[in-house]
């Protein structure tokens, strides 16, 4: 049986469904509730920073770059009316659900400074790539 939740995006930006976490990603003028999970090792993409071209997220754990389009495809069905969102949760799960507000860095512009004013994510590192992983970046703390 499909479960539905209603959340207020002016107050909450994250949904926990059991151990799975989803966060509001803003891309192409849209807000989507996407899975907070890097395909490399499960790192929190909500804490990723955008690459300079804005098209990829650089995972804070290992620097793996994940296309924003690929992340968008992990979204849950959601109907928006203003800040009110009606979300269809994954079927077949009866895991506990909670909505919270947490820090999301993935929606910041690539060159936005961190809260501590130390600058963006790539201020300290040189590029280095292995497969899909590239610049480690030092994530904003």
């Amino acid at each position: 049986m499909t479960r539905v939740i209603v959340m207020d995006l002016s107050r909450h930006n994250t949904v926990m469904v059991g151990h799975d976490r989803y966060f509001i990603l803003q891309a192409d003028g849209r807000r989507l509730l996407v899975r907070d999970y890097c395909p490399h090792r499960g790192g929190p993409l909500s804490l990723a920073r955008r690459t300079p071209d804005g098209r990829r997220l650089s995972c804070p754990w290992h620097g793996t770059k994940v296309g924003v389009a690929a992340v968008q495809r992990t979204c849950l069905p959601m109907v928006l009316s203003g800040d009110e969102a009606v979300v269809l949760l994954p079927e077949g799960e009866d895991a506990p659900v909670s909505v919270i507000r947490k820090e999301v860095l993935a929606n910041l512009p690539p060159d936005a400074p961190c809260a501590d004013g130390t600058g963006g994510p790539n201020t300290r590192t040189t590029g280095a790539a292995t497969g899909d992983a590239a610049t480690t970046g030092t994530p904003c703390p």
């Binding site: 804070p60 754990w61 290992h62 620097g63 300290r124 040189t126 280095a128 030092t138």
Partner: protein, 498 residues
């Protein structure tokens, strides 16, 4: 590149950095230290038992034969004494000391080991530990002050160039980006990995290699954990990310120590912590203890961060090589996921530690810390080299015990007249050790098993057999008959005697 010292599976005092205090001095009067060491070694849990392999009880850690605690450790070991009996005993005591601030529990439950748990973590053992540890650290690690060069590396740019040159020289160059360690998963076996695969008893040799790794891998990243607390900027978060990988993101099945156990089990080795305590080589103990020392004493944090950077970088190719060797030796039955995991994740860890720990600390704290960072790399280079030499010598000897028995017979008439006779019985306490001279072990009655590596088929000596045991080769003797008598004599050899 090869990894041999196992643990290092994971610090001269340069100008500018206050590392002169890394070895604590004058903590207690010498007489008190000697008495404390003797009392420590006499603890029940540190006494040998009849078992060759120790299972189900992580608190049983025999330090050595009777008299080990009476040894004088007041004069630091030299590099020439690196593989000596003193380093072995000191290494075992220090390993016990460092691990007594880790939580260790037997997998089958504490019921049968509760008294040993209470003793291992109890007031008296910890008090004795704290008295003896500074002197043993001075004994074990002071040689590094003389043996390790101090390259003239002072600036960030010089540090970058130095590091990349060093890892390149160690067989682990950077890839085209200069930021990642390059890995060639198809590289042909070379060095120690090849010696293991091509020796006469490859499974025993590979097993001994895994056992050296197990000294650290079964508590993997526990030393690192000591550097997670505090407040030291973005470097702290970078180390935590690496720790997070080591601990499998909180998933027990993904924890590196768990997949290491699976690798051990797949080739029929025991998975209990320190089951193979008797088979840790002196160099392996010194190597693991070095990282515990640097993390226990936070004056060593810069050395540690550099040492871990160097190792993480080398591990990427090193574990690719180890996986190739294990598959060559054991075939399809080996579960080498642990090696595959490290060959992958240590590409990331190599880059992360290099960029954000080594260079990060140099950027954050300036040139004053660079000599200590370099020292950590130089220490680790030396410990790896010495460990590799120790391991190679051990498998070369253990692989050729028949030959060394023939050599012993030839040399018997030339041995010294310092014979020490022992009577062995099957239920006697068993321990391994090394001798500081070449010796001849002669069986004068009964039969004796010689344990030179972990095997179900140890070398057997009968009455009249004489085994040549080169200096520093780890071995233990066990009666294979109701009673056996052996005499041990020193021998002076020339290089032609082998």
């Amino acid at each position: 590149m090869t990894i041999t010292t196992g643990p290092i599976t994971t610090g001269t005092t340069p100008a500018g950095m206050a590392a002169t205090g890394m070895v604590t001095t004058g903590a207690a009067p010498a007489a008190d230290v000697s008495a404390a060491l003797a009392a420590y070694c006499e603890q029940r849990i540190f006494q040998p038992t009849p078992d060759v392999y120790i299972t189900g009880n992580p608190f049983q850690r025999p330090i050595g034969p009777p008299g080990a605690g009476a040894r004088d450790f007041s004069v630091p070991a030299t590099e020439a004494e690196f593989l000596g009996s003193g380093q072995l005993i000191a290494g075992r005591v220090l390993c016990n000391a460092y691990e007594s601030d880790m939580i260790l529990l037997p997998p089958a439950g504490l019921a049968t080991a509760k008294a040993d748990f209470d003793l291992f973590y109890g007031d008296e053992v910890r008090r004795l530990r704290d008295v003896v540890r500074p002197g043993l650290e001075r004994y074990a690690f002071s040689f590094l002050d003389d043996a390790v060069p101090a390259p003239q590396v002072r600036t960030l740019e010089e540090l970058q160039e130095y590091f990349l040159t060093e890892v390149g020289a160690a067989g682990a160059p950077a890839d085209a980006s200069s930021g990642n360690p390059a890995v060639d998963a198809g590289a042909p076996m070379a060095g120690t990995m090849r010696l293991i695969a091509e020796c006469g008893h490859p499974e025993e040799a590979a097993g001994l290699h895994l056992i050296q790794l197990a000294l650290d891998a079964l508590t993997e990243a526990s030393a690192m954990a000591r550097n997670l607390g505090g407040s030291y900027g973005v470097e702290q978060s970078e180390l935590f990310k690496i720790f997070n990988d080591e601990f499998g993101y909180g998933v027990y099945g993904a924890k590196h120590s768990t997949i290491f156990k699976e690798m051990l089990a797949s080739v029929g080795l025991r998975t209990d912590l320190h089951a193979y305590w008797n088979f840790y080589l002196p160099s392996s103990l010194v190597g693991v203890n070095y990282f515990n020392w640097l993390t226990e004493d936070h004056r060593g944090m810069f050395r540690y961060m550099a040492a871990v950077t160097y190792l993480e970088w080398l591990f990427a190719q090193g574990f690719a090589d180890t996986g190739v060797m294990l598959r060559a030796v054991y075939g399809d039955r080996v579960d080498a996921k642990y090696c595959d995991e490290h060959a992958h994740i240590d590409v990331h860890h190599g880059r992360m530690t290099y960029e954000n720990l080594l260079l990060g600390l140099a950027r954050a704290h300036g040139e004053i810390v660079i000599p200590e960072l370099v020292r950590g790399i130089e220490d680790t280079k030396l410990l790896l080299r010495l460990g590799d030499e120790d391991f190679r010598a051990q498998i070369a000897w253990a692989d050729a015990l028949d030959t060394y028995t023939e050599a012993g017979a030839r040399l018997a008439s030339a041995a010294g007249d310092d014979a020490a006779a022992r009577t062995l019985r099957p239920g006697d306490p068993f321990s391994t050790g090394v001798r500081d001279t070449d010796t001849l072990v002669e069986v004068t009655g009964g039969e004796v098993e010689v344990h030179a590596w972990a095997t179900e088929h140890p070398h057997r000596l009968g009455k009249g057999d004489v085994l040549l045991v080169p200096k520093s080769r780890l071995h233990g003797l066990k009666a294979a008959s109701g009673e056996a008598r052996v005499t041990v004599r020193t021998i002076e050899r020339t290089s032609n005697d082998d």
